[in-house]
């Protein structure tokens, strides 16, 4: 009892610390002014800091932090919100004093930049040559004329920020990537309902026979395939029900139990990398690239990630084989599959097959994967394969979490915050490969302690702005860097808290944390190296 009380106090003090730190983070940019960051950038920085703290400390559930983010963005950063609804740019005209020489108010000058108003809320920057600053500033430029509307206050909140409409922030919840995920959720839900996942598992496991390490390889392959389409958590729970009867055939001390309990979460985590819908960090990567006008097709994602996923699966398998060699010779498994044959089950099989087929053939027919994803959403509800209860049971909070992440990314780019954050570090000394390594390692480390999705949310926008701002230097590839960050987020499986599948495996009591750490370190470190090798040699060929 004593023990429980102390953990309760710890829990509470962690919440309070998080709350105080989060609020401090929010207020910090309101009190201090950072040079080079727009007014809206300050607001976005406050939201970013608070969200990061709340996500890290789990002061409130991570999905509600996402909702808070969207709320604050709508309130503070949208065109219709408190800060920008009534605002318009203050303008004035320059006074000509000579050829190409103009007098302007000194407040209109931001070092050697003036802003030209192109509407009530829109401006563009113009570099001028500053000749003299006293009561008025005298500047030289060939681009000005006496009826140019220049912004009289360079520090005005609308300068360098064009507020998005509130609907853009809300709209993230219905963005194409969210719809793609919803399609995935719907397919997964229907598969569980009609036991398609279980039956597929039994069919797919048969060829792997009865030898211990082959069984493990089979479990890993099947887990990876399923988790590429279903949630990693549900896949792990389902595969555990297959693994437990095998584990019960050996004594409690037998190390093979460790392998059985460990191989499944590892494979589930890795399998999630393979498709866009495998796990939410993929969504963050794809959505952020989409905002830059870069579209990654379903099939291309698989082509990019599959070698990495297969490589890591084999790596994990070999590692466990060396660490925990099995003693028993063979195991019996009851692998009876009984596919449901009712009309609704058949509809599910057809829709599932068709959807996956269309996803993989995007290059041939050109219909984006998110549009294809609406096929199962429509077909499985129209035919009552899924009913009201099933729709309610979908993991909506995951969609909110991702939407909040996408929305935060929008503002980080749009307000110049992301660019400001990355430009505060001198990256030029680093070669391309080191840059990727830094991003990968930071993502890997954070993601071991935070939710993978949250890590991706915080890091991917930074990686993207390295590219868009040109800070990353020549040859910096947005897509490759984002992919490295995304895969690093999914490779974090060091601790029971790293991912829900790890927590499930831990709860069986078959493994100790140290077992997870051993294999997790190998996967994390070798995984990053593999990703870097792919990023240099293989990904550029596909892209």
């Amino acid at each position: 009892m004593q023990f429980k009380k102390s953990t309760l106090t710890q829990h509470l003090s962690k919440k309070i610390t998080g709350f105080v730190l989060g609020l401090t983070g929010f207020c910090l940019p309101l009190v201090f002014t950072f040079s080079g960051l727009s007014f809206a950038g300050h607001l976005a920085l406050g939201i970013f800091l608070m969200a990061a703290v709340f996500w890290m400390f789990e002061t409130i559930p991570i999905y509600s932090t996402s909702m808070l983010v969207i709320f604050l963005q709508v309130l503070l950063l949208s065109q219709q919100g408190l800060m920008f609804s009534g605002a318009s740019l203050p303008v004035t005209q320059p006074l000509q004093t000579g050829e190409n020489q103009w007098l302007i108010p000194p407040e209109a000058l931001d070092e050697n930049t003036v802003y030209i108003a192109e509407g009530e809320k829109k401006s563009r920057s113009l570099e001028v040559k500053v000749l003299e600053v006293s009561d008025m500033a005298r500047v030289e430029s060939s681009q000005l004329s006496s009826d140019t509307q220049i912004v009289s206050e360079a520090r005005h909140r609308l300068v360098r920020y064009e507020p998005l409409g509130y609907a853009d922030f809300f709209g993230t919840l219905a963005s194409p990537i969210i719809i793609l995920f919803l399609g995935g959720f719907i397919l997964a839900r229907a598969s569980v309902k009609y036991n398609l996942d279980k039956n597929l598992t039994n069919v797919l496991l048969k060829p792997f026979g009865q030898k211990p390490m082959l069984i493990v390889l089979g479990l890993m392959m099947v887990t990876a395939v399923l988790s590429a389409f279903m949630s990693n958590t549900a896949t792990t729970a389902m595969m555990m029900t297959v693994a437990i009867p095998i584990a019960l055939q050996v004594s409690k001390e037998d190390k093979f139990r460790i392998v059985l309990a460990l191989c499944i979460p590892i494979a589930a985590n890795i399998g999630g990398m393979a498709t866009p819908i495998g796990t939410p960090p993929n969504a963050i990567v794809i959505a952020n690239l989409q905002q830059q006008g870069i579209h990654i097709a379903f099939g291309s994602w698989v082509a990019l990630m599959l070698p990495l996923a297969v490589g890591l699966l084999l790596l994990a398998w070999f590692t466990m084989r060396i660490l925990y060699p099995p003693t028993a010779k063979r195991f019996t498994m009851s692998l009876k599959s009984s596919f449901e044959k009712g009309p609704r089950a058949v509809i599910l099989y057809v829709v599932f097959g068709l959807t996956v087929l269309l996803w993989f053939t995007e290059a041939q027919h050109g219909v984006p994967s998110s549009m294809v994803a609406f096929l199962p959403i429509m077909a499985l509800t129209v035919t009552s394969v899924l009913k009201q209860d099933d729709i309610r049971a979908l993991p909506w909070e995951v969609l909110w979490l991702v939407a909040g992440g996408i929305s935060l990314g929008l503002s980080m780019e749009n307000t110049g915050l992301a660019m400001w954050l990355v430009s505060s570090i001198n990256w030029e000394m680093l070669p391309q490969l080191m840059l990727l390594l830094v991003f990968g390692v930071v993502a890997l480390m954070l993601s071991n302690f935070l939710s993978n999705t949250v890590t991706a949310t915080l890091i991917v926008p930074l990686a993207i702005s390295m590219g868009t701002s040109g800070i990353g230097g020549e040859g910096f590839n947005l897509v490759i860097t984002s992919l490295v960050v995304g895969s690093a987020c999914n490779m974090a499986m060091l601790l029971p808290i790293s991912t829900p599948p790890n927590a499930i495996a831990m709860s069986t009591g078959y493994i100790k944390t140290i077992d997870m750490v051993k294999v997790g370190i190998v996967i994390g470190l070798v995984g990053i190296v593999c990703a870097l090798v792919l990023s240099m040699l293989y990904w550029p060929i596909i892209l």
Binding site: S231, A237, T241, I244, A393, A503, I504, S507
Partner: protein
Amino acid sequence: MAEIYIICVEDEPQVLDVIIRDLSALEEVFPIEVAHSADEARVLIREIREDGNHIGLALCDHVMPGDKGVDLMIEMQQDAFTEKTRKVLLTGQAGLEETIEAINNARLNRYIAKPWTPEQLVKVAVDELTTYVIEQEKDLLQYMGVLDQARLQEAIRNKGYI
């Protein structure tokens, strides 16, 4: 965090000792409390409620001085606090009529006839508590060590998250 209790109501101390010994493997996660009569049980239930805890499983003898076990179970069924509690009648002497009454009015979940084996008792307790936590609790992982793993995993699969 709220605890989930197992309560045993039985008038014979020796039998009570046997039950507690048989269920000792569960005690780490589900604290066990005992009562020697229906009246004692009512006090016990009130205490557990006032501490903000829950009762997951009630094992109850039928023939006791004072109120009978079946009456206590019917009472528990009618009280919102103990309605969801899994109810097991543990007896050798309940007649047909009383048993029917227990099933109809107390929504009795199990009936264990005396004498029972330790394995039987543990299996029933594990089954019933597994059902209870799947229905009532959000975080199922903490019960993986002592309850029915396969059913808990199945429940997680159905939910799709933990």
